[in-house]
């Protein structure tokens, strides 16, 4: 629990560095989209590379126990597809709407983040209902 709090603070500082430094919102889904299909800006690419590198350092320093789920490759692909459509329509994901949007008290982001959780919990319960 203490680690979750510390990690949250660190993530918040990371997002704040982007805002204080270059005035940008730390949206990861949006940055992936912009790098591939949009403005192709270098700062976004560097931002994404930083996250990837942090993951690599974490994997080397103290490897997470469960990097994968029980889901089949088809299930993961379906989830990725839905997530990609969703994050574009909503114009934000857990970082842009969740971390930054909640922090800057944006009504759109509060609605989006609440719906992320409502749909996520509903899906979890529905999957359990179907699979027993």
């Amino acid at each position: 629990m203490v680690q979750a709090a510390l990690g949250g603070v660190l993530a918040g500082i990371g997002a704040a560095v982007l805002y204080v430094g270059i005035g940008r919102i730390a949206g990861i889904g949006g940055s992936i989209h912009q790098v591939l299909f949009g403005d192709r800006s270098r700062w976004r690419l560097a931002f994404l590379a930083g996250i990837l590198l942090a993951g690599a350092i974490a994997g080397w320093w103290s490897p997470p126990a469960h990097l994968e789920t029980d889901l089949s490759a088809g299930g993961i692909a379906a989830a990725g597809l839905i997530s990609g459509v969703g994050t574009r329509l909503a114009n934000g994901c857990t970082s842009g709407h969740g971390l930054c949007g909640i922090g800057r008290l944006s009504p759109r982001s509060w609605v989006a983040s609440t719906l992320f959780c409502v749909a996520g919990i509903g899906t979890t319960l529905a999957v359990r209902g179907v699979l027993g």
Partner: protein, 170 residues
Amino acid sequence: MKSLIAGLAGLLLGGGLAVAGLLEPSAIQGALDPFGAFDPRLYIALICGTTVYGVIRWFARRRGAPGFDTRFHDPTSTVIDRQLVLGSLLFGVAWGLSGFCPGLALGNLGAGGGQALVFLAALVVGMGAVGGLDLESTPQEGASAAGFGLGELAADTITLDRIGGRNGRT
């Protein structure tokens, strides 16, 4: 310089996710399972992260401008439309199904996760499908499943983009 700052920001944000234990999709699955093996770490991290971010942002805005740009690029839209609602619900469904979101997947991939690569590849296809519809072109090959039935939404997207500007809606 901008790229250097952005790289540092990504490193800190990704490091935060790792420290919080949020590179593991099982942590998200636990957070979205309040009646089962509930895992509160996501919410604890979010409360701490948003508070820190909100406070630093408030002080930064009082200074007037960011260190290495002429202005702050905040999203301007305040419209809560059905595109936001539908997109958020879809995003949540995928989150609940898999435990993956774009940020977690990217950090997870860095740590060596194989499923994250599949998730990210499909994510990009999904994004491309919406982008393709945005421009009133046919969805790209391989994206037809996601593109099916989204024509009506695409019309909304175009209208809103003209009003609000493409980057003004986080």
